[in-house]
Symmetry: C2
Subunit: 467 residues, 2 copies
Amino acid sequence: MQRTVIIDALKSTALNQPINVRGWVRSRRGNKQVCFIALNDGSTIQNIQIVVDLTQFSEDQLKPVTTGSCISATGILVPSQGAGQAVEIQLTELEIYGTADPETYPLQKKGLSMEYLRTIAHLRPRTNTFGAVFRIRHHMTMAIHTYFHEHGFFNFHTPLITASDCEGAGQMFQVTTKNLYNLKKDENGKIDYSDDFFGKQASLTVSGQLEGELAAMALGKIYTFGPTFRAENSNTPRHLAEFWMIEPEVAFIDKSELMDLEEDFIKYCVRWALNNCMDDLEFLNQYVDPEHKLIERMRSVVDTEFVRLPYTEGIAILQEAIKNGQKFEFPCNWGDDISSEHERYLVEKHFGKPVIMTDYPKDIKAFYMKVNEDGKTVQGTDVLFPQIGEIIGGSVREESLDKLNAEIERRHIPMKDMWWYLDTRRFGAAPHAGFGLGFERLMLFVTGMQNIRDVIPFPRTPKTAEF
Amino acid sequence: MQRTVIIDALKSTALNQPINVRGWVRSRRGNKQVCFIALNDGSTIQNIQIVVDLTQFSEDQLKPVTTGSCISATGILVPSQGAGQAVEIQLTELEIYGTADPETYPLQKKGLSMEYLRTIAHLRPRTNTFGAVFRIRHHMTMAIHTYFHEHGFFNFHTPLITASDCEGAGQMFQVTTKNLYNLKKDENGKIDYSDDFFGKQASLTVSGQLEGELAAMALGKIYTFGPTFRAENSNTPRHLAEFWMIEPEVAFIDKSELMDLEEDFIKYCVRWALNNCMDDLEFLNQYVDPEHKLIERMRSVVDTEFVRLPYTEGIAILQEAIKNGQKFEFPCNWGDDISSEHERYLVEKHFGKPVIMTDYPKDIKAFYMKVNEDGKTVQGTDVLFPQIGEIIGGSVREESLDKLNAEIERRHIPMKDMWWYLDTRRFGAAPHAGFGLGFERLMLFVTGMQNIRDVIPFPRTPKTAEF
């Protein structure tokens, strides 16, 4: 018999008709006359209830039906007599695909800690929480691709292995096929990479932005969406060594249009989740979000106009707050980096809504940002979110070759491998701008999860590369 | 004035109205009275023609307008008097964003070789050919995500850095943060990885399948779409060290349903290109495909039912062909691997349509494939395409823990780091199947390009990791 996916079965109106569903047993309970199996197949967080008449099925037949086992259940779809579901299935035929020994199956118990579930990351997608998180992760992927596609952007695959990088030196993973037991060195004692796979030292990229800029100078509007790497030895709930990043880059837009894009894009993603993932969001809102305010936070973002705040004004607000008794761990004088506590004060306490902070002092930002006429600030446009802090880092890019070269020189950035990047300013330079969004930061916001390791299937962090 | 994207300008019906377009000059020609600028902004392969009345603009004003320069052109949109376009723009205002010195701009000349263009991969997206290829690449990305989304699959991000792999040993890139000048070794002379970033030896993944199977056992239907790595020292037009792969994995389907999925999916992608990329396809068909049969080949695939051919029957056909005088470089007796020449003979000469070859001898296929009742063949389902050969490699997976363990033992596969994979068969095992599609193989088919380095923005191959 043709299988029906549970998300469809729950909505089916073919009552009193035969139906077949397949999935994993979430629980089994009952009495001497009847037993109820809650079955889930991953298509939705909702289980379908299988009702077993114990005059028709023997205890032996049902013995393998334990939590975690995999079955095929054929029966009649009937209106449910219990609360919580419209329909249920009266079992007529049962097939066991795979058992799950109750003595050893790790997901027997409820209320397992997030820390423990990380040690069984290969099984945690079978829980309600992680099923919800990974369905939402899929939906965010679709939202991102659909938004850019509908707005005329082209997805562009920038390389992951790179032999040139000027930003992340020291925080990069080296990629090699060299035999480490027999490292050839040259006469100066330097490792000879001529026999390495790429003929030179190679690393994993920390950003696709520079290559993305090349593409924007040809295709007009592009975005990258792929894995990115930082070999930062940070064991925090907010750092991953391998994470996914979205980096759009657009020719012919200015700072104001860039901010419009950032705001429109992120609202679109949050709205997509609200429109398409409500079952999962309601679960996370109730059982995962510490304040049960996940959905409220998400709604407040899509319904509000973001504040656009120059850094200099932001510093003034923070200093005023300090004067009025607000305590911060880090200083905040003009020229200092804005730390997470400052961001959250502005967003959560002062404005009560997302903030796009702009025009940062140039020395706290990257070399490629366009300098304002004051000569002191650059056209950065970072989006700060409640709970998360910085969720988007954006900027207008400096398109003048002379100004860019001067900045590179002032900062002593080694650019010998970066001639190709400067060619974008040498040949047909265009005003352009773009931003980067750490995908897992967005995931934290739309799931209410507290640790970034719990919004990616298999987190890579210092000393951890399991599965 | 608000900018209009050229793909929209060319379709605009706002005739005799002011319009602003911005882009890169593809060519400039004319006479003493009038000059014509062909402008492209990447939104489409079509240029828009800017007509310049030389009584209104001086030679000095126009001097920087050379091939490759970037301009903003404001004017009046009028019906075109020339052939080849419906509308053109009579220039009223010109702004130069960036020049391109004709002496040094590498894309001055037409007819540059593919080999040369690879050396300027940072600029080649500005050519008609590569603009077309990368727009189509975007469209194929959208087709893939849209297909799976509409069919109830969840996109699942499997890790790129891995500390366990049983398939690709010897062909993997090592990932390390170790100081290679001071490699700590243990008492047995083995390199001590305890101080490496992940606390053990780590590599770049060769496939997300095994992690994908974990997810399918929870979410039911998943697909991966991400970069994959092979440190194979192959300098051929068909190998990349870094390439993108699509790997769906589905619970509760059998061999026949898997073949349906493979055929339906790939037809959907090719149909998407035909429906959405015809301008680019027509260019590639005329100027890139050696036989000008790109579109014909694509149409033939979407309109035909694929042949489903057991390996054993395929071998019989090939041996019959040899008997009738067909010459092959490699032998083809039962048990031999099917080589590319054999695949293409079957697809292009014998059947004249795509072939799904099934039920291969188990010793030429991977350990995880489900063994048929004959004990000799496995339920592989590879899709073979004209021009390309194998484009999809699929199989039903062995779901029995005992059979899988026996096969692992028979092959002496070291599984000590793979306990988590075997857990899928230990707890709630389900029948399941999946396939892998090399994205660049698909790209070759839908562009007619001859070298895989020309369908990915920045190819990584032995001795090459530029840009």
